[in-house]
């Protein structure tokens, strides 16, 4: 589904991402771990064609992202660290707009409300303007957008940072549901615990390179933390 081959991005001399090889298959949750500036967000931006690779290829569902940026975006949903919404519109109106832009303009109000409920947004919040929303509520609208888009893959950029444990947990459950439906998930995160719990694979990144990649069923919590810290030491 999501595929990177020798993917490299350099900004005048500085290599943000160095020869990344990565495959996320349907039904997999791949967690990218690493310090800030390790290249996690760069990887996600490359999948979204927000930046163009210096070399290597990046593909979604076997379609090259650089050559077909609009086509490949049909198959992914993106949730950033903080989901930004239009503050003058209600949660429902925001979802309706984003869904329409994603090609789901024919969804009825009931269906849209249903997506918001699935994402865990309290029912009475749907009609309030998002100017009053907490970060957790906005993330939930972001999830509802992803659900409404029925994307086959998800690109998540630290989506749970700043969420309370309960909200993080709900989010993890939702990810598992999606995984079971066969969605391919690529998630950048700092949360080792949730990476181990929900992820199928983890990749540890350092200075633009993936230094380790392992299945979460191969290691325990303590091992994962140890391996991570070992790599972070110079």
């Amino acid at each position: 589904m999501l595929e990177a081959r020798s993917l490299t991005k350099a900004y005048n001399g500085f290599t943000a991402l160095n020869a990344l090889d990565l495959t996320v298959k349907a039904g997999e949750i791949f967690c990218l771990l690493g310090a800030n500036g390790a290249g996690k967000t760069t990887t996600i931006n490359l999948f979204l064609n927000f930046i163009t690779p210096s070399s290597g290829t990046v593909a979604i569902k076997g379609i090259d992202v650089v050559a077909n940026p609009l086509e490949t975006k049909k198959f992914v949903a993106y949730i950033p660290e903080t989901v930004m919404l239009y503050k003058n519109l209600s949660g429902l109106e925001n979802l309706s707009y984003f869904a329409a832009l994603a090609g789901q303009g024919s969804l009825s109000k009931t269906e849209l409300r249903d997506y918001l409920r699935q994402a865990g947004l309290p029912e009475d919040a749907a009609d309030r303007r998002v100017g009053f929303y907490s970060k957790g509520m906005r993330q939930k609208v972001g999830i509802a957008i992803a659900l409404a888009k029925r994307a086959e893959s998800l690109l998540l950029d630290e989506p749970t940072s700043g969420l309370d444990p309960k909200a993080s947990n709900e989010f993890a459950n939702l990810l598992r549901t999606l995984r079971d439906r066969g969605v391919a998930v690529l998630m950048a995160t700092h949360d080792l615990f949730h990476a181990k719990e929900t992820g199928t694979r983890v990749g540890i990144m350092k200075r633009g390179q993936m230094v380790a990649s392992l299945g979460t069923d191969e290691v325990g919590h303590a091992d994962l933390e140890r391996i991570y810290l070992e790599h972070m030491h110079d």
Partner: protein
């Protein structure tokens, strides 16, 4: 998809306090200025009609007198205030609207409200034209500067583009949304304008096409500002940069360009001051034929020629009144002097106008100013056309009176008197403004400037969609 985006933009705008307040302010200003303009137009027109009738009546009722004395008495005529001058009073307050017609003299068009205006009024009267030319572009800038720069700053642009929306679709949707939002503001005033033009006046058949052409001009002009605002918003990293750049563009157009154009025109094509001009005419006339002075050598020659023509011994023997011939000769000499001086002045003014119109290619506000005044019938060209028309009437009037003296005053000499039938027999002065296609043709340059600006800016917007940055 474009409509879906437009709908969201409108909803977003309408719920924004900034939009509501600016809408209220602009609506109030535009409605007030148009209504005030309309009322003062009606008052002025009624006043003018009364003054014109009174002046004509005074002329008709001056009783028995020598026709040349009647020519000295003269007549006031007025430049009719065209209906669309309530939208754009143009240069009328500076060039004047009435002129006194009399023998021997070509008076300047006078009655200039600008001369009596206070310093405060010099900042600009509140007219519908100034609202359309200056305030609406400012409103467009305030509504459109965050269109993309704001979404970029907020981070919503990332999300929108991650959905797979074509950037061009997004921009067009926003443009349509802004156009509709602006129409909501302008529609009430437009309705008012239409009703005024329709119900307005006897000339509505003539006013309609002018109003439509004017509307087309303003649509082009405001379209340019919208395209520029979107372009800058697309290319700016932050809303602050976008706003500063756009305000700079506005200041350049609204404040700097008009002064620049006036100064540049005055410097490249210098024209004499009013005092120098009248002095030059006075000097030339003095050197010519004076119909009132029997000692004038040229009059003596004319007398000999006339005597020869009628084979008469003395002026008293002539079957005609020689005074009439002498006076008309003086008149015609004067006219040739006027033609020379005014011809040169008009050519210079015309070149200054052309220069200002050419500057419209750099500053669209200059182009719309010229266009709007021309279509309202209040531009320089029209005021010159009126002055010329009044002058032609003056010459006909004086000629008719001198001829009457010449042909009917043979035996009485200067004692000859004509009656009210003669005064009443003079045709009414009716200023005929040029036709619509002439007004439009005169403004080819302004039209070209506006169309060029719009197509270039829209072209740049389209090109920029291909390289739209996410952040």
């Amino acid at each position: 998809m474009i409509l879906r985006i437009a709908r969201k933009e409108i909803r977003d705008l309408v719920r924004d306090g900034r939009f509501r307040w600016s809408a209220v302010i602009v609506t109030v200003l535009l409605t007030t200025s148009a209504a005030l303009g309309w009322r003062s137009w009606r008052e002025l027109r009624a006043e003018q009609a009364r003054a014109q009738a009174e002046a004509r009546n005074d002329f008709d009722e001056q009783g028995e007198k020598n026709p040349h004395a009647a020519a000295h008495y003269g007549l006031y005529v007025f430049k009719p205030k065209p209906p669309l001058s309530f939208v754009d009073p143009g240069v009328d307050p500076y060039t004047g609207v009435s002129v006194h017609l009399e023998a021997h003299r070509r008076n300047e068009v006078g009655n200039r409200p600008a001369r009596d205006a206070t310093a405060l009024q010099r900042f600009g009267e509140l007219t519908a034209a100034s609202v359309l030319q200056l305030l609406l572009p400012l409103l467009i800038i305030f509504l459109a500067f965050p269109a993309l720069a704001g979404e970029r700053e907020q981070g919503t642009l990332r999300q929108v583009l991650s959905l797979g929306v074509r950037p061009g679709t997004l921009i067009w949707g926003k443009a349509v949304g802004l156009v509709v939002a602006l129409s909501l503001i302008v529609a009430p005033v437009l309705a008012l304008g239409v009703s005024v033009v329709v119900l307005g006046s006897a000339e509505s058949a003539r006013t309609w096409p002018h109003a439509l052409a004017m509307l087309a001009g303003y649509v082009l002009y405001l379209g340019i500002f919208l395209a520029v605002a979107l372009l800058v918003s697309m290319r700016s990293r932050t809303t602050r940069v976008a706003l500063v750049v756009l305000l700079g563009f506005w200041i350049l157009n609204a404040m700097i360009a008009p002064r620049l154009a006036t100064d540049l025109a005055r410097r490249t094509v210098p024209t004499p001051s009013s005092l120098q001009f009248t002095e030059a005419i006075r000097r030339d006339i003095k050197a010519g034929v004076d119909g009132h002075d029997p000692e004038d050598s040229r009059i003596e020659r004319l007398k000999q020629e006339t005597l020869k023509k009628y084979q008469a011994e003395t002026v008293e023997d002539l079957p005609i009144n020689f005074q009439g011939i002498a006076l008309q000769a003086g008149e015609e000499y004067g006219n040739s002097v006027f033609d020379r001086h005014y011809g040169a002045l008009w050519t210079a003014f015309g070149r200054q106008d052309t220069m200002r119109k050419a500057l419209g290619f750099l500053f669209p506000t200059l182009a719309i100013r010229e266009l709007s005044m021309a279509l309202a019938g209040t531009d320089n060209q029209r005021s010159r056309d009126f002055a010329e028309s009044a002058e032609r009437y003056r010459r006909d009037l004086v000629l008719t009176l001198n001829r009457d003296l010449e042909q009917n005053g043979a035996d009485l000499g200067f004692m000859y008197q004509a009656g009210p039938e003669l005064w009443r027999g003079m045709p009414e002065f009716r200023y005929q403004p040029p036709a619509l296609h002439a007004s439009i043709q005169d403004q080819t340059m302004a039209w070209a400037a506006l169309v060029l600006w719009l197509s270039v800016t829209v072209g740049l917007v389209c090109r920029s969609t291909r390289t739209l940055r996410v952040d």
